[in-house]
Symmetry: C2
Subunit: 374 residues, 2 copies
């Protein structure tokens, strides 16, 4: 039934663009053997179809001004020979690569995967290819510069920074100046009006939900402050509290991981009158709730928890997470659309802001519902 071999290959795999042959010795001049490679070139197609390479090129790129009959012949030859455009040659000649670069942190995360799906979708629709460069240490400017350089060398025409860049020195500036760049940060953090998901409204939604339930104050477990999203949410949370006349309690810092959420949860458990927490991600919320329960404080009876993201598992937490949904895929699509607009110097497509949506499930309740609920 599983008749596959371990890896599909053979003894002598052929490089896609085979190195040219060792040239034979002659007395006079001798060209290096032309088109010795397996892969047929435009010349081969042209010969087979009885036209010039120019015509082949035209047909391939779907230009007009080709007699239908000629086009058909060319296409037939293409098919017959299994001809395919040689991307490197094409971009050398045209000056265009249609490559999109993505820089991301090398940390496994659900959101990364989801955003990538969005980017990929748009890219392939627009005929672009995506190449990725990972950055292991998001605190090191140099690793970002390296990643950027790798992408530029590869010919990336635009770059999406799916990573927290908290600095923007000359070196980085020089790069973003010559290569259109979109910072995911800004696409989602509501710095301008031009955002997909306004992080600040996420924080507002969460905080006000808790307040409206009757909680006197709301504690906050923040994400890694390298990320703008984290900072914007924290600021908004503070501001909302102030608007409601309450002095914000100290932030409980964490770093997006469930472990850090767990530690934050222990801190909260030690605060007797804490009844409501706004946690900056679902993953951290899992940790917070676990710590709370271990300390004998039930959610939502003793403490209410709202978080952010609505990952697939949010609905299956115990209790199911009340959370503000983030449309990751849409964010990815928006980012890709934006870079491509920039690259093609076209009017920027309007970005449809997606309003963050509060999904009320079972992790929040009015204060003092102990014994009442459940």
């Amino acid at each position: 039934m599983f008749a596959f071999t371990f890896s599909l290959s053979h003894d002598a795999p052929t490089a896609p663009f085979p190195a040219r042959q060792v040239s034979v010795h002659y007395h006079g001049w001798m060209p290096r053997r032309h088109n010795q490679s397996q892969s047929p070139s435009q010349v081969d197609v042209a010969r087979a179809a009885g036209v010039s390479t120019q015509t082949v090129s035209r047909v391939i790129s779907g230009q007009a001004n080709v007699r239908p009959e000629t086009a058909r012949r060319v296409l037939a030859a293409v098919d017959e020979l299994g001809y395919r455009v040689h991307a490197a040659a094409a971009s050398l000649a045209s000056g265009r690569t249609r490559i999109l670069g993505v820089i991301e942190v090398s940390t496994a995360r659900y959101s990364t995967s989801a955003i990538n799906v969005g980017i990929e979708t748009v890219a392939s629709e627009e005929g672009y290819t995506v190449t990725t460069a990972s950055v292991s240490d998001h605190a090191s400017p140099d690793s970002f510069l390296d990643a950027f350089d790798r992408l530029e060398r590869q010919g990336a025409e635009g770059v999406i920074l799916l990573a927290p860049v908290t600095f923007l020195d000359n070196a980085m500036g020089a790069r973003t100046e010559r290569t259109p760049t979109v910072l995911m940060h800004h696409l989602t953090s509501g710095v301008g009006t031009d955002t997909v998901v306004d992080q600040s409204s996420i924080a507002r939604l969460a905080t006000e939900h808790l307040l409206s339930l009757g909680h006197r104050t709301v504690w906050h477990v923040s994400g890694d402050d390298y990320w703008l999203e984290s900072r914007v949410r924290r600021q908004t949370w503070e501001q909302v509290l102030i608007e409601h006349g309450v002095t914000p309690p100290p932030v409980i810092p964490a770093d997006w991981t469930p472990e850090s959420g767990y530690r934050a949860g222990r801190t909260i458990a030690a605060i007797p009158d804490a009844t409501a927490v706004f946690v900056s991600s679902d993953e951290m919320a899992f940790g917070v709730i676990r710590a709370l329960h271990e300390a004998g404080r039930t959610v939502p009876d003793d403490v209410s928890v709202v978080s952010v993201d609505d990952i697939a598992l949010a609905a299956y937490a115990a209790p199911a997470l009340t959370t503000v949904r983030q449309p990751f895929e849409a964010v990815g699509r928006a980012a890709a659309t934006r870079v491509i607009d920039l690259i093609e110097q076209r009017e920027p497509s309007p970005i449809e802001p997606i309003s963050a949506e509060l999904i009320v499930r079972a992790s929040t309740a009015p204060p003092g519902s102990a014994g009442t609920a459940r």
Copy 2:
């Protein structure tokens, strides 16, 4: 504080490989203006260093046979001009791209992200670049062929199939024959001895754990059968049961998602004497447990649950998941190493099999522990 602009760019972004200038009209022959682009080329460096382009090339690629002094001069010029190799030109000339292609399903998953991290790591160490092609429908052979073609056109010298390929017809075969390909499937499914994680031992570990706890039989919630991993685990589970003299109950099919796990959980809840379940992924286990609890059957008191993966959230489930850990990143690294070995036609690096590890947490217990545990 956040003095960034929305997207870092400007009115006239420059393509990385700028299109050549419109040529000026002369009477006689006139070359199209050479090197009009911003980016300096080898010629510029050569001129600046007072050497030939050949020497520049040699220095750049770190070949021997260059006088130290000359090398220094070239390097200085490179630095001064900000010269960088033009990947397209280089691969056109050399026939090598050093591009690795990855085909993945466009479904957001934690594991995808984790495996990618591993691939990226090795790739960049080996000087390769990674480009991705997504496949939306993993049931459609054509979408795989498309993805493969996109990668080949781009010049991928090797391909990693991080997606379930359950067919292998001529069209696919032709591609995997000319381009070294590694099926993630086979790297992890124990078809040969040459595997990173033997899926079959995962299933054995899980099933025997449950049996050794004293459960009479073990039910199984499987993943999507498009994935070999899913099938191998199911077969092994059956086999282990048979070895222990018990007739395997019918499989409860699911598709990796927590929702499908939830549905499977309802099915199990309806089976009075089911006391142990082997669930093929942590994400599904969240769903299974939720359904069980809703039906009034507690985990692990009434029903024990083991799953697979040990994702970051597994330890924060309620109860914490007993699970068999899968070293995703290592799998990614192994896959990348393998394709690169294939590409460079070097002796395949020995793959260190990583033994799957059973992490016992709180979701399993001896049968009939109701009232005892907790």
